[in-house]
Subunit: 346 residues, 2 copies
């Protein structure tokens, strides 16, 4: 983008003509509102300084707003929400580097998000969208695909849970291979001498959750075990729920207590670590997302390459936005490898 120093702006025209910014705008777009002598002074300054028409006016000709849209999810309170905030920081940095801004809006559900898309598209104030939190039966991607609107998702388009269908590839997406992360975590624990690491995950129905569980199950199978031979717990993504479930598991009279635990999130890992500490029991815990909390409490965790994900999401989206008359390229997908960050308790 051009720096402020080497070009004429509406503000500099206003200064030269000794009027307000609003008056310059009126002179250019609603001259009837401006007194004739003022109009003359403003237009003289416009001519002298060589002021270019506004982006809003140019936009009507180029149909490009250099703005990308993203729904900001409601604040979920805490630990795991920071992942999407870190993605947002990387996305805004990346977009800015390519000369684009990011406009944020909120919505309560898919339908609300689609309504926002429709408003922004109708206004001509948007070139395309980045979507997060993809899920089975995503009404947003269907709506955008149907209308040929440029978009890319951070997250795969998940097929129906348990359907065994392949992941659809009819649009651009970038995602992190969660199964590879939990697999690396489980392999690490097995190599450290834990024969059957347990798994603490979310209830069924989450594509992301099933992906993360899959890596644990695969590592067990490859080590000659099976998920059936290991403990598996399911709780909502809450530290308190994890604390209760792991307390139960560590004090159960009917089953051997786990010595190692792979968790679907750092929120769950925090609860698990807390339960073990409270009971004075040894439990090796690995979380997911490598949040500041995992670092603070000294828990190993799986880190997502969020900067790389943002770069690729912008690449995929701008390839569509900036496509020439031959149309956008065929959809592409990127599945990124996460990284296991090892820590020991302080």
């Amino acid at each position: 983008m051009t720096s402020a120093d080497d070009r004429v702006t509406l503000v500099s025209v206003a200064r030269a003509a000794g009027v307000s910014r609003q008056t310059v705008s009126n002179a250019l777009h609603a001259p009837g509102r401006v007194a004739p002598e003022t109009l003359e002074r403003v237009l003289a300054a416009v001519g002298e300084l060589g002021y270019r028409p506004s982006l809003a006016a140019r936009q009507l000709r180029t149909n490009r707003s250099r703005t990308l849209g993203l729904r900001l999810e409601h604040w979920g309170g805490g630990i795991s929400g920071s992942v999407l905030d870190r993605f947002l920081h990387a996305l805004v940095d990346e977009a800015q580097g390519r000369g684009y801004r990011v406009v944020l809006f909120t919505a309560d559900d898919d339908a609300g998000e689609v309504a926002r898309y429709d408003e922004l598209l109708s206004s001509g104030q948007i070139d395309g969208f980045v979507l997060t939190s993809t899920h089975h039966g995503d009404a947003r991607t269907a709506w955008l695909l149907e209308r040929g609107v440029p978009f890319a998702t951070f997250g795969r388009p998940w097929p129906a849970p348990g359907s065994g269908q392949p992941v659809p590839t009819d649009h651009c997406w970038v995602d992190v291979d969660g199964a590879a992360g939990t697999r690396a975590a489980t392999e690490h624990l097995i190599a450290a001498g834990h024969t059957a690491p347990a798994y603490l995950g979310w209830p069924d129905g989450s594509g992301t959750g099933e992906d993360r569980r899959r890596g644990w199950a695969r590592a067990l199978a490859e080590a000659g075990g099976s998920p059936a031979g290991a403990l598996e717990l399911q709780v909502p993504d809450s530290t308190a729920a994890a604390f209760a479930a792991v307390t139960d598991a560590l004090t159960s009279a009917s089953a051997p207590a786990p010595t190692a635990l792979v968790c679907a999130s750092d929120s769950l890992a925090l609860g698990a670590r807390g339960a073990a500490t409270r009971l004075g029991r040894s439990l090796e815990v690995v979380g997911f997302d490598d949040t500041p909390v995992a670092d603070a409490i000294g828990v190993s965790s799986v880190a997502q390459p969020l900067g790389e994900a943002a770069t690729l999401a912008v690449d995929l989206l701008l390839a569509q936005v900036e496509a020439g008359p031959e149309g956008p390229p065929p959809p592409r997908q990127h599945l990124l490898a996460p990284r296991l960050v090892l820590r020991s308790a302080p």
Copy 2:
């Protein structure tokens, strides 16, 4: 805002006319690019459906984009950065409720941020700005004030450090009374039997840092002591630096070890708690910002009312943006009280 269901959009016109969104846009704004029979079909659909002109076109008449701008700071890595992210979530929610979107951009410094303002203002794509991280000699607020651009800051305009000058009130701002927070923390520790709680803060030169230190000093004075009679440590806002400084303080042969510590941030509190735990020493710690990390490690902390701050920032800004011909109201300021959240170590 109107929902997508009860109004005619460019997309519904495209569907009715059996053409692409781009073609409708061309038909309306660059009819020369569209074949005559297509143009006729599109304009017939526009008429039948009663389609309103686009926001970009209307904007040229109303000079209102219903968009507010905010610089997103670069990701600072971790604990304290989550405060501004939580403010952002509240701000986007609040703006959406008032019918405004939030556009994000990045910049490396004040001058870069001003260059972004200038671009957005020249394009007519912005109604006003919210600024964060105010500091002494803030070039951004001076630039905006000079041009009469609507804005509000989250953070006070700080006078020169140590100047003893009153905080300027020539623009709208909302801030949290940091001194009241550290004062409440110090009073709590004194009431719990610690005669001279120590302070772990940042190096001089930060308005926010000096404000937080002031509350600690005032509480000591009111309890009959003085800052000179208590330990004071200054380190950059890093957990590692806090760990080192507090380890030194707890093992010093030349001075009595502190039993309680008020910290300027949760990053510092985490390092302090880690040092005490490592040495097996008892040290009551209070942090600042009530981040997920403070909750995870069971450290008391001062919570900022971020939702209320965002609501007031939007109020202050929109009072200027939506001002009638009589002009904007005089600048107003809000100093909000924080809340001490007490926790005990797990």
